[in-house]
């Protein structure tokens, strides 16, 4: 337990020491999306009854930023340790697979939540209401960051070079987070793309998170929650299994 707490602390200190880059920068990026899209799409009218486009955009941007940063946290920490070789100092102590995974996961979730809170804070002035269902909102914030944090652990263990990780990020994480209904309601999409979006777990995170604020969304929050929770369990089990078997960590 103490080993887990120490590793968690180290992972938190790691991103907090450079929080300008790991928290402030993504918040600024989200703010710029908000400014540009709100300006361009202002005339679009309401997405849901009583919900303007500018307000609709905010939870999506927040969740997208949480997802991307949760992924970046665990994956970049692991690949850095692997490439510099100092991962050996985590492999020599008696840490269990669960402790190892748990520390990386929770640090990712914390970074996701910090970024999410920052995005909500700076964009709230664009008309974000207080959450209609705060518990749903929090559930999706935690689970959504968790899914991407776990995926980041897997990617960090799998990748052997920075460019492999960059490929993972550019060809999987970016499309999944961008094509997830951040900028639009998927109900306005042609049928094919609507169906395709239903296969994207990030869509359910964003939709559920949005439901937490507006009490309205494209799918029922229980369904969204089930999909996100199932993704989380699946990826976590895979990550734990990889760590337990020393995949690419112990030769």
């Amino acid at each position: 337990m103490q080993g887990f707490l120490t590793l968690l602390k180290k992972e938190l200190v790691r991103f907090w020491k450079v929080s300008f880059q790991t928290v402030a920068a993504p918040v600024l990026t989200a703010l710029m999306y908000q400014l540009i899209f709100a300006h361009v799409m202002n005339s679009h009218g309401q997405v849901y009854p009583g919900v303007s486009y500018t307000a609709f955009l905010i939870p999506g941007l927040a969740m997208m930023s949480m997802a991307q940063n949760a992924f970046a946290n665990s994956s970049s920490s692991l690949i850095q340790s692997k490439i510099t070789g100092n991962i050996v100092f985590l492999l020599l102590p008696p840490l269990t697979a669960t402790e190892f995974f748990g520390a990386y996961l929770i640090a990712s979730i914390v970074r996701g939540l910090a970024v999410g809170a920052g995005v909500l804070l700076v964009t709230a002035g664009f008309g974000l209401p207080l959450p209609a269902h705060p518990l749903w909102m929090l559930t999706f914030a935690f689970l959504g960051s968790g899914v991407l944090g776990a995926l980041g652990v897997i990617a960090g263990i799998w990748a052997e070079k920075f460019d492999q990780l960059a490929a993972f990020q550019n060809f999987l994480i970016m499309p999944l987070t961008f094509l997830s209904g951040v900028f639009y309601s998927i109900n306005g999409l042609p049928p094919f793309w609507r169906e395709a979006s239903h296969l994207n777990p990030v869509f359910y995170m964003i939709d559920g998170f949005r439901y937490g604020f507006f009490g309205q969304a494209d799918v029922h929050p229980a369904l969204a929650c089930a999909v996100v929770a199932a993704s989380f369990l699946l990826l976590s089990s895979l990550a734990l299994w990889l760590i337990k078997n020393g995949y690419k960590l112990r030769h």
């Binding site: 080993g3 120490t6 020599l92 102590p93 008696p94 840490l95």
Partner: protein, 322 residues
């Protein structure tokens, strides 16, 4: 295992002399094999290191020393066979095994985001010891790092980083300490103070296993050695036995004429006009000289070749049995 008195008492290995049968070996390696693709890095290695020993693992580059050490540490998984540290299997009882083991890896690695003290505090925490500052301060002092405690790891010289790695390996006070070439790239002063410290640890009951390419270090420090070559164990013995075995003296002679026929049997080889003879003891030299005198052959040069670990090592690696 029986340790001979002389070698052991030199460094006061108090556990070695009367080892009760129930005490587990510090390290027990059983039929460990490991392949990397086509390469057999370890080939059915078996031996034990008892508690309190000061043990050297020697061999040329690529012999498999590091692979064997990383297998002990659980960083490498053996294809077959098993390793126990203080009686605990490194795979099935990895928590106990790892708590008993401190490893200084061969590669110089560090976390560039941390200071020296942070590095040691985190390492201590991973082993479940969150409040360990007294021991950390002592380690910093012993390893000459006290004035670098708050320096960033990036700002340290290579030798200083090596010292931090030694401190990291000791931070949880492991009973078994493995040092994989700790003196590579380290200046004379640190080498001496490092060995002084390691001797103290050994005298306090810690088991020490080290690898080094400086064979004099192994010869003066260690009471027992194992030699590896191409993944195979080719020697395992007490230091003094190994040296004694090959203590058949060698003399190099440069003569005014050819070597007489009756001395041919003693000749090991010829190098640069010198005949290298092997004698049972130095007393035999008298006999050799009288034969030469008798033949009117003048001795131009005579050298007695000392056996040290290095010469034993070279012979072993060339396949000569000593």
């Amino acid at each position: 295992m029986q340790l001979t008195g002389g070698a052991v008492s030199r460094y006061n290995c108090r556990f070695s002399l009367n080892t009760p049968a129930t005490m587990p070996s510090a390290i027990s390696i059983q039929a460990v094999s490991k392949r990397f693709g086509q390469l057999q890095a370890l080939d059915a290695i078996s031996f034990n290191v008892e508690q309190g020993e000061f043990f050297a693992l020697l061999g040329p580059n690529g012999a498999g020393k590091t692979t064997l050490i990383t297998t002990m540490a659980g960083l490498t998984r053996a294809d077959s066979g098993s390793v126990r540290i203080m009686g605990n299997d490194v795979v099935t009882q990895f928590r106990e095994a790892r708590r008993s083991l401190g490893v200084v890896p061969q590669e110089l690695v560090f976390d560039p985001f941390l200071t020296v003290r942070e590095t040691l505090r985190f390492q201590s925490g991973y082993f479940g010891l969150p409040r360990n500052d007294v021991w950390i301060d002592e380690l910093l002092h012993k390893l000459g790092l006290a004035d670098k405690a708050d320096a960033n790891m990036r700002a340290l010289s290579g030798g200083m980083k090596r010292r931090v790695m030694v401190a990291q390996a000791l931070v949880h006070r492991p009973p078994v300490i493995v040092l994989d070439e700790p003196t590579a790239g380290v200046d004379v002063e640190l080498r001496q103070s490092l060995w002084e410290f390691v001797r103290e640890l050994n005298a306090a009951g810690h088991t020490i296993i080290l690898t080094t390419h400086y064979l004099e270090e192994a010869e003066t420090l260690c009471s027992r050695i194992a030699m590896l070559k191409n993944g195979r164990l080719i020697a395992l013995d007490n230091m003094d036995k190994l040296l004694a075995h090959s203590a058949r003296r060698e003399v190099a002679l440069k003569l005014s004429a050819a070597l007489p026929a009756e001395l041919e049997a003693l000749r090991l080889r010829q190098e640069e006009g010198r005949h290298i003879l092997q004698l049972q003891d130095l007393g035999q030299l008298e006999n050799v000289l009288s034969i030469l005198r008798h033949r009117n052959i003048t001795v131009r040069e005579l050298n007695v070749i000392e056996t040290d670990l290095e010469s034993v090592f070279v012979k072993m690696m060339n396949g000569v049995t000593v």
